[in-house]
Symmetry: C2
Subunit: 219 residues, 2 copies
């Protein structure tokens, strides 16, 4: 957990700007998140954002030179925070784990942690998924974090799990795709497609863990 906290703090320091917000600036960010999530970036107008934020339209451009800069300043910190625990939390072996429980515990940590985070940031998750497709700047940031940081650590963890006989011997890319599909498929269904259904969250999480674990188990 120390590792996790350190990384979060580093990130916040690197981004830095989250503390020095003017009240009006915070209102702008909040309104922008809401409206971007509702109508999509391209269909959102700066005038509507200003209106909902109780701010003059010019105030937005005092803090963000363009509408796209507003989007980026919203999305990139979220993207970083969303991905950090994927490689910071439990990808290093926990000495207290029995080897045969390591995979299960890893999955449970990831799922519960990212579930809580997605629950608190559903609109932001929606914005990222929607806008990534059209903004190369966002794709690039994603690449930087995922390909350079998350993926290698994921691979290392998988190699260890394969040696321990907990995961079948398949290409890491394939295995990671399956895990990510299952995790993201759950989060997207839960918080974006059908957020109003009555969910038994703990049960769904446990069953998703089991699904991944048995799907990837050595036969």
């Amino acid at each position: 957990m120390n590792e996790f906290k350190d990384m979060m703090e580093e990130l916040e320091q690197a981004d830095g700007e989250e503390k020095k917000l003017t009240p009006k600036q915070a209102q702008i960010l909040q309104a922008a998140v809401e409206i971007f999530a509702e109508k999509g970036y391209a269909s959102s107008s700066t005038s509507e954002i200003a209106q909902r934020a109780n701010v003059a339209e010019g105030t937005i451009f005092r803090h963000y030179r363009t509408k796209k800069e507003l989007l980026i300043s919203i999305v990139t910190p979220f993207m970083a925070k969303f991905m950090v625990p994927f490689f910071a939390a439990r990808f290093t072996r926990n000495v207290f784990d029995e080897p045969q429980e390591e995979f299960e515990n890893l999955l449970r940590t990831i799922l519960k942690d990212r579930f809580a985070f997605a629950a608190e940031n559903a609109p932001l998750l929606r914005i990222v998924l929607q806008e990534m497709a059209f903004h190369p700047e966002l794709q690039q940031r994603f690449q930087e974090v995922f390909v350079k940081d998350v993926y290698p650590k994921f691979e290392a963890a998988l190699d260890r799990l394969k040696e321990a006989g907990q995961v079948m011997d398949r290409p890491n890319g394939t295995i990671i795709r399956m895990i990510m599909s299952s995790v993201m498929g759950f989060l997207v269904t839960r918080f974006i497609l059908s957020p109003d259904l009555e969910w038994d969250d703990d049960q769904e999480i446990e069953q998703t863990i089991a699904f991944i674990m048995y799907g990837l188990a050595e036969k």
Copy 2:
């Protein structure tokens, strides 16, 4: 008489039979698909679509009253075609199957079939995934097809597979989510996120089948 003819025409159009297309109309549809997929619906202008289609802008509105009607006339036939095989293809028991192979064959049919379809219609898949979030009309069409047709047949097939001991006894909604997450996760990764990677498609399909099958197997 007139009423009857009108009805027939409406029906044929509603069925999505794209036969009576003027050459220029076909050019418009093609250009619209390309540009919607590239920039998203909201960021695409009718003037640009007209330009790429080598058509006057007014011609678009001769055939489609609004820009949104153009989108819908593109997306809904695709949506229907994409979902039909999910309940039409093999959801009824094939008498030649050994019971213990039924699930595997069902998954293989779904995956190979929808893989081929997605390969031929990647831009349309992209448009649907992007625009569904912002257009209630599209969500409604999806509901109509999926909830009323696909889901019930899916459930029936799952109940049979559970009785045959091929699928574990979990809520159908959960199982369907896991299958759809894995299938869509693969298709999205393959054709939208990383279409330019070198893929061993047959191997990926087989491993996805195995992942789902063992993930859902009775323990």
